[in-house]
């Protein structure tokens, strides 16, 4: 991995992490207003076994938290749109390895409208897919289907998510290869996915599987660390683990993007 790529990767991770923290701010304020901030043990009590104070927080701050959630939607939309920039930066970095974070983000910013459009269409397609899968699963309560449990629904969902993600990312890639393509690029995107379905499927499975594994391992470790017990080091350790997961997920995104775009032009030098 060259230095420019690592710096862009670091910038993308930082961007995503900060966006998460900013979105969490109104909820943290609501929790602080509830009285938790005035307790000597602070928010540690919320993680104690039995959840006595967690349940009390829900009772006392329910309206505040609901209010925060209800007014969050513009910020969520903004975060959704802003998050397309780090992704775009990864695409740019993959195509032009010497870019560096400033050029990469600059190139992404220049394409922000189509990037947000692609992201919105992708999200709507995934929501529709989940709805279809749930409908099919509910309808298929007949005896033969019940024998296989949730397997058919999971397989259908997995295939659908792969197809929409691959199509959307190829379309994003084509945006950086030839910005003039714009709306006419769906045909080439479909053709690209059909031609490269096996390597894309393998790459997608690896990305999702390893990403979930990172989340799961971190979840178990954080549970063992137990931030409900005294000790600032526990909070630091949990924070470090979580940031490591976000970093790994970013690296896996970069791997996936390289897999998506490599047939579009000669492979970029990853190392």
């Amino acid at each position: 991995m060259n230095r420019a790529f690592s710096r862009t990767l670091g910038a993308v991770w930082l961007c995503r992490s900060v966006l998460g923290w900013l979105l969490a701010l109104p909820f943290v304020a609501a929790v602080a207003d509830s009285g938790v901030g005035g307790l000597f043990d602070g928010d540690r009590v919320l993680f104690e076994p039995g959840g006595l104070f967690l349940a009390e927080l829900g009772r006392v701050s329910g309206p505040l938290l609901n209010g925060a959630a209800a007014t969050m939607w513009p910020y969520v939309l903004a975060a959704f749109a802003l998050r397309t920039l780090p992704q775009g930066a990864l695409f740019q970095q993959t195509f032009a390895p010497s870019s560096g974070p400033r050029k990469a983000f600059g190139a992404a910013s220049a394409r922000v409208v189509p990037l947000v459009t692609i992201a919105a269409v992708e999200l709507l397609a995934k929501v529709a897919l989940v709805g279809i899968v749930v409908f099919v699963e509910q309808a298929a309560h007949a005896e033969p289907a019940r024998r296989f449990g949730l397997l058919p629904a999971a397989a259908l969902l997995g295939a659908g998510l792969f197809a929409t993600t691959a199509l959307a990312d190829v379309r994003r890639g084509l945006l950086f290869v030839d910005p003039e393509l714009e709306g006419a690029a769906l045909g080439p995107a479909l053709s690209h996915v059909r031609t490269n379905v096996l390597p894309l499927l393998g790459g997608y499975a690896l990305r999702v599987g390893l990403g979930m594994l990172a989340v799961a391992v971190a979840a178990r470790l954080v549970e063992w660390i137990d931030v409900g017990r005294p000790g600032g080091w526990r909070v630091l350790a949990a924070f470090a683990l979580h940031q490591l997961v976000l970093g790994l997920v970013t690296a896996l995104d970069a791997f996936w993007i390289r897999r998506v775009v490599s047939p579009l032009q000669p492979p970029a030098s990853f190392l």
């Binding site: 966006l19 602080a32 993680f47 959840g51 096996l198 949990a238």
Partner: protein
């Protein structure tokens, strides 16, 4: 390896990683909790008087969802007064039309709000009394419930002559029960039938000669005398039957199956019949348990078995032996969930999906423990569920959480990803929302809604009892409840009986606390306020010494190295309970004080090398009944919520990764 091979390897690795993640994230589907205790040895006990015994025959027409019944009721006037009328519960008439007490509210007021398409009813063809010359007394009945011309669930039947104390009657009856589409645990769904409250049932006769009779209200449950139930059921041959009591005989002929069940001493008989049940049997310390469940719920059946093996000795050690040889557990099929979550003598209906443990929830275990616990409070003590629902549901809710907490210590209701929620915590907040609306000790029909009944009868009562347990100690409190269960076994206790036992075992303060909380909307909120510090100094002024009067001015008085701190704790509300108050100085020195809770406030003083930095009311969280936990502490510093911010920021970033590229 070519690209095709590499893709297959990558896909396999990805799927394997997903599988490992699922295994890591999902809580165990069969939580390994505390092992079950041994069943205690049974002690000899005095059997209750069998006041109303039923010998019945019932034939189910599964196509018409209709039961033709006949039989005999043996009844004795066990009161001190002559009886001139009998009162019968015809519960099924609650589903006859939408003018009944049960169905007349357009907003729905019952536990499940289910309104089937088909209505139901019970018709009594005849009721003859052998001791009165086989007179048919049914035509002389009142046609409707007392004071309500539209309701037919509470029917008075005058007798030709008074029945003296001690005298017995033998009544022969014929009746037909048309089952509704499943409503309030009774009825049918396809070929599934749950047959409860299906026969004419005598109201309970109190010692003073009055019957405890009542219309079937959507928020109320049941109450009757103990007796022997000997019931023969005739159903289509392919149907599996589950019922109250032990199976004593069965036969098949002509495409029909006849099964005979006997149970005593019990005060109700319910049964179920379906051609889709799967069955599992096991013995738990000598108790024959039979589980009936639909296909696809095998894992739920296993969880139920684990739970029952723990719950049986747990309840027996605390509330007395389970006096019956059998227990039937029915998990309803899809579409018949309205028959779940209910208790009958030796028959319970459960619910919950097999996959909920993977989500960190314990639905199946909770409903099994709750319905099984009813065998003691509803089944054996048999208090009046309509008049004092808290005596059954409230005590049982407390017992349910105590049992689950013993089996699954950190996760009695929910536990996943480092967060745990106990039933005590949730009951507390459910109750807090409505604690001041109505008295907990109200009759079921008096509550403004089932929502309020649930919050107060179930959650508030459980929270009150859990508070007493924490304040007086688990062993002492459970001994007190055990004394109540032993003293009033088969004896239909009242709230006064419970309060008297609490007073005897825990003292008059505890009795007063419970009485106020149950019947007078008692509440309490301990509030910590006014934390102050000053440096101590020698006293100034005029002092009489042996050598004469000494005058020390304020300027002359020497400040000491000591600090004096004080804080005031206020008690809002009418409930009084002893409470611990922890004083913590800046140097970490701790001093635990105790306040008996009498009076409106108490001032706490502290002297030490550093200032008083923190005062905490109830540091061990014994007073679950405290209205507000966040005003229990005063400290001179505030905290940044790093844990919350870190966790929420991480989840927000992950969520964005899920929906955004």
């Amino acid at each position: 390896m070519n690209f095709r091979g590499r893709a297959i390897v990558e896909a396999a690795m990805g799927l394997a990683a997903l599988g490992i993640s699922a295994a890591l994230l999902a809580p165990p589907s069969r939580p390994r909790g505390a092992p079950p205790e041994q069943r205690p040895a049974k002690t000899a006990e005095r059997a209750p008087k069998l006041v109303a015994s039923y010998t019945l025959n019932a034939e189910l027409d599964a196509g018409k969802h209709n039961v033709k019944g006949s039989g005999t009721i043996a009844w004795q006037n066990t009161s001190r007064s002559p009886v001139r009328s009998l009162f019968f519960h015809l519960y099924l008439n609650a589903f006859k039309n939408e003018r009944s007490v049960f169905l007349r509210s357009p907003f729905g007021a019952s536990r499940d709000d289910s309104r089937g398409r088909d209505f139901g009813y019970i018709d009594v063809a005849s009721l003859t009394v052998r001791e009165l010359g086989n007179a048919d007394i049914w035509p002389n009945r009142q046609r409707h419930s007392p004071g309500d011309v539209d309701d037919e669930t509470d029917i008075e039947v005058p007798l030709p002559r008074a029945v003296e104390p001690g005298e017995s009657l033998t009544l022969d009856l014929r009746f037909e029960s048309q089952l509704p589409e499943l409503m309030e645990r009774t009825g049918y769904s396809g070929s599934f039938h749950f047959v409860a409250q299906w026969f004419p049932k005598l109201a309970r006769l109190e010692d003073n000669g009055e019957f405890s009779h009542f219309s079937f209200h959507p928020q109320a449950e049941f109450y009757a005398d103990f007796g022997r139930y000997d019931v023969t059921l005739d159903v289509p041959q392919g149907f599996t039957v589950g019922a109250t009591g032990a199976l004593v005989s069965q036969s098949t002929a002509g495409g029909r199956k006849r099964v005979r069940y006997v149970a005593e001493p019990v005060h109700d008989f319910a049964w179920t019949a379906w051609d889709g049940f799967q069955e599992k049997r096991f013995s738990a310390g000598g108790l024959d348990v039979r589980m009936l469940f639909p296909a696809g719920q095998e894992k739920a059946a296993t969880l139920s078995e684990d739970t029952l093996r723990f719950a049986l000795p747990y309840f027996e050690r605390r509330f007395g032996s389970y006096p019956y040889p059998t227990l039937t557990v029915m998990h309803p099929p899809p579409g018949a969930e309205a028959s779940g979550g209910m208790e009958y003598p030796t028959l319970i209906t459960t619910g919950g999906d097999w996959y909920t443990p993977y989500l960190g929830m314990h639905d199946v275990q909770t409903v099994v423990v709750h319905e099984f616990g009813h065998q003691w409070f509803y089944g054996i003590l048999a208090s009046n569920e309509a008049r004092w629902p808290f005596l059954d549901e409230g005590l049982n809710s407390y017992a349910e959480q105590a049992a689950l907490g013993a089996q699954l210590p950190r996760q009695s209701l929910f536990g996943a990803l480092g967060i745990t929620l106990s039933g005590d915590s949730l009951f507390r907040v459910f109750a807090a929302a409505r604690a001041q609306d109505e008295p907990v000790g109200s009759a079921a029909s008096e509550f403004s809604s089932f929502r309020n009944l649930g919050a107060l009868v179930y959650s508030r009562t459980a929270t009150l009892l859990a508070t007493l347990e924490r304040v007086y100690g688990k062993a002492r409190f459970q001994r007190a409840l055990g004394a109540y269960a032993a003293r009033f076994r088969f004896a239909h206790p009242t709230p006064t009986d419970l309060l008297d036992v609490i007073g005897d075992e825990l003292g008059s303060d505890a009795r007063t606390f419970l009485d106020t909380a149950l019947f007078h909307r008692g509440r309490v909120d301990y509030v910590a306020r006014d934390l102050q510090n000053t440096r101590a100094s020698d006293p100034a002024g005029y002092f009489e010494r042996a050598s004469g009067r000494e005058h020390i001015t304020r300027q002359q008085a020497q400040p000491t190295r000591e600090f004096v701190g004080r804080a005031t704790v206020y008690r809002h509300g009418s409930l009084e309970l002893p409470v611990d108050v922890l004083l913590v100085a800046r140097d970490g020195t701790r001093k635990l004080e105790r306040w008996d809770g009498h009076g409106a406030f108490r001032v706490f003083e502290y002297r030490g090398a550093t200032e008083l930095a923190r005062v905490v009311v109830d540091p061990d969280h014994k007073l679950l009944i405290d209205d507000d936990l966040f005003n229990n502490e005063l400290c001179t510093s505030s905290r940044v919520l790093w844990r919350v911010h870190e966790r929420l920021g991480y989840f927000a970033a992950l969520a964005l990764a899920g929906v955004s590229p």
